[in-house]
């Protein structure tokens, strides 16, 4: 574990977000809070979401590669990978059809970063998971059904 000690914690209750953000050249706290797109997380379907994100009519695309298990042993942790082959991809969002909030996460991909994301999400029940990609101002998506199984002794 030697290199773990080289990971320095530089924030804490005594250091304000502002100091931190200023120190790392990021935005101030008010701007940061405003950055979180509440409307997007409250969207109930993909069309609404895309509209909130400033687009229209998402199209299905085979140039988005979605990797996930067909069956998740536990809905609390479902590993997903999305890679886009669409030129000019600058955002990748993960949508979970039957969750209380459709939008799970939205990643902004700056130039120089590969349009590939791996993360883990919660799924309330078996449903479709969508990867929604913005490329050159247009929205594209792909979907995969992931089954969430009942497990363990208690069912």
């Amino acid at each position: 574990m030697p290199h773990s000690r080289r990971q320095f914690l530089t924030s804490g209750s005594s250091i304000t977000l502002l100091t931190l953000m200023a120190a790392s050249g990021l935005l101030g706290p008010e701007a940061a809070a405003a950055q979180w797109n509440k409307g997007a997380f409250e969207s109930k379907n993909m069309e609404d979401l895309v509209r909130t994100l400033g687009g229209t009519a998402p199209q299905r695309s085979d140039d988005i590669v979605f990797v996930g298990p067909e069956i998740a042993e536990n809905g609390a942790v479902v590993p997903v990978e999305v890679a886009s082959r669409l030129p000019g991809t600058d955002s990748i969002a993960l949508l979970i059809e039957k969750n209380p909030n459709l939008l799970a996460a939205n990643f902004a991909i700056p130039a120089g970063t590969l349009p590939e994301i791996q993360t883990r999400v919660k799924m309330a029940e078996t449903c479709n998971v969508y990867a929604l990609v913005r490329a050159q101002g247009k929205f594209y998506y792909t979907a995969k059904e992931i089954k969430v199984t009942v497990g363990g002794c208690g069912g």
């Binding site: 790392s24 997007a40 969750n99 970063t113």
Partner: protein, 103 residues
């Protein structure tokens, strides 16, 4: 060390692979505790990753990102010794930032 973070950044030629594990409860606000009380929502909303000060990834998260979140991605233009910094802010206004060197 209430909320440790584990950052692994490894250079392969020009491309740096970043893998991040963050300690966070990511409470949805919909879960009930043993006494039947709702556990208040507490989840990371914003996360930024910089390489030597330049943003290489930023994201908005909702409560559906798993507890103790994992994130992996790749960017171009990094080299061993460069500094990858991960900063998050949650819905209660808490924030943390950790830094690691590219291997």
């Amino acid at each position: 060390m209430a909320n440790p973070m584990r950052i692994r950044a490894r250079a392969d030629g020009d491309i740096v692979q970043v893998r991040v594990l963050i300690s966070h409860v990511m409470e949805t606000g919909l879960r009930k505790d043993a006494q039947g009380e709702l556990v208040p929502a507490h989840y990371i909303q914003l996360i930024d990753v910089t390489y030597d000060g330049r943003i290489v990834l930023s994201a908005e998260w909702g409560p559906a990102v798993s507890r103790n979140p994992y994130l992996a991605f790749k960017f171009r233009g990094g080299a061993p010794g460069g500094k990858v910094r991960v900063t998050w802010t949650d819905n209660l206004g808490e924030t943390q930032s950790y830094e690691a060197s590219v291997e």
